[in-house]
């Protein structure tokens, strides 16, 4: 997880005509949303094409199980297909809405199946921020890479101890008590690190509105 050493170490696709692209982004999202509401199956195809790699990444990181992660992704699209509304996702947009649904479903699954205990026991034997590494695909083939680069840079800019506290909780689903036990630090310290980290991230990410949809 979060394997890349730095956000600037890889070649990035050049943004083509940024001003034009931003306009198209909003138009395309509105178009997909309207067509989903109108039950246009091709809109679902487009959404699945674009969003699956990102949703799968989140679900896999949390569940550490590819089959379960795929089920979560499938369930996410089913929820969106059956419940999409004109204001789903609020001002953040369609893609953040999908990410949130997928992450919440993954958390439900983690907690509902009591996988937590097994995971903690396994992790105790093999300490380290190890997880199933999402396969890094051809960048050019994945719309959204530029958003990923910005978010990843914001995350990497956090002090290491704050980054670890957020990573274990947000991306791997550990509770604050479990993190405190695992890192051997007081619970209050975990909370403080997470709050500081999230405050920084809120500031860094609040202006990020662009996406490929």
């Amino acid at each position: 997880m979060l394997k890349r050493e730095s956000s600037g170490s890889r070649a990035r696709p050049e943004p083509s005509e940024p001003g034009r692209r931003v306009g198209l982004v909003a138009e395309r999202e509105a178009s997909i949303r309207q067509r989903l509401i109108a039950r246009d199956e091709q809109a679902l195809v487009e959404l699945v094409e674009l969003a699956t790699p990102w949703l799968l990444s989140v679900a896999q990181a949390m569940l550490q199980d590819r089959d379960e992660a795929e089920e979560v992704v499938m369930h996410t699209f089913r929820i969106v297909w059956e419940n999409i509304t004109p204001d789903a996702g609020g001002t953040a947009g369609l893609m953040p809405y999908l990410l949130r649904v997928a992450r919440h479903r993954a958390i439900d699954r983690l907690r509902g199946q009591r996988r937590r205990e097994r995971k903690v026991a396994a992790a105790a034997l093999e300490w380290g921020l190890q997880s199933i590494a999402p396969v890094e695909p051809d960048e050019a083939g994945h719309p959204g890479w530029q958003v990923h680069a910005q978010v990843h840079a914001a995350f990497e800019a956090l002090p290491a101890e704050q980054r670890t506290a957020v990573q274990l909780a947000y991306f791997e689903g550990f509770t604050q008590s479990e993190i405190a036990a695992r890192l051997g630090i007081p619970l209050g310290t975990v909370k403080t690190r997470q709050r500081l980290a999230f405050a920084r991230l809120r500031t860094a990410l609040s202006g990020l509105k662009d996406w490929v949809l």
Binding site: V45, W54, F155
Partner: protein, 242 residues
């Protein structure tokens, strides 16, 4: 009973779902009656909405996308059928119990839902039509398995969007799928997968790809299901140049 300060202090933890399970339930009960916390949680969720994209994308297993699409659509249709009879029975009971007043009210609600769906469909169609009206038309025939269909592109050079119509194609053979491509200056860039073979035409509206340089044309291929990324590997069925 927790003081309001506790909820204020834990808004971020709730919004990011890193609270323990019991505390989540407590927080959700509090949210029902606290407009301030609801508004603030919503704001935090929006601000951190992109955080999951800190992770690099994962490559889906071959065929996963098609499996998801088929599963979602089939499940949706099945659910609709499964609930049809019980829903009708419940509706009938309600109508009997409450009489004409309830019937009128229910009818009004149903009509309202229909209007909402129709408005959404109309907006989608208007969007597509706007592209078609302004678009330059490119078309070619496509022959697959003895059937002759076509690929039509309405290329709107004002908004840089295309409405693409694929018609008359039979279902793709098992293990394959139809795939739309942009022919770009730097090579082929994958567009949308095509759901075809349901008996009618398939239409979608798409923007231009962000990568690959200038768009020179488009192509339609039949790809093996495992080829979710990378250049075309399957048979080219049609291509159009601008």
């Amino acid at each position: 009973m927790k003081a309001h300060d506790w909820f204020v202090e834990h808004r971020v933890e709730y919004a990011t779902r890193i609270l323990d399970g019991d505390d989540i339930a407590t927080f959700e009960a509090h949210l029902v009656n606290c407009e301030d916390c609801r508004r603030e949680v919503s704001r935090i969720e929006t601000e951190l909405a992109w955080l999951p994209m800190s992770l690099p994308p994962a490559t889906p297993r071959p065929g996963l996308r098609r499996h998801i699409i088929q599963h979602v659509l089939e499940d949706s249709r099945t659910t609709g059928r499964r609930w049809l009879l019980p829903a009708a029975a419940v509706a009938a009971s309600i109508l009997l119990a409450l009489g004409g007043w309830a019937a009128g009210r229910q009818r009004a609600q149903a009509l309202e839902n229909e209007v909402t769906a129709l408005q959404a469909r109309t907006a989608a169609l208007e969007d597509t039509l706007s592209v078609m009206r302004r678009g330059r038309i490119l078309q070619t025939s496509v022959a697959v398995g003895g059937r002759r269909g076509g690929l039509v592109i309405f290329a709107d050079e004002t908004t840089h969007r295309w409405s693409v119509v694929v018609h008359g194609l039979p279902p793709a053979p098992p293990g394959t799928g139809y795939q739309f491509w942009f022919i770009c200056a730097d090579g082929m860039v994958r567009g949308s997968a095509i759901l075809a073979g349901a008996g009618g035409s398939t239409m979608f509206t798409t923007g231009m790809p962000e990568t690959g340089g200038a768009v020179l044309g488009a192509a339609l291929t039949m790809e093996p299901l495992g080829a979710a990324t990378g250049p075309p590997r399957g048979k080219e069925l049609a291509h159009l140049m601008l």
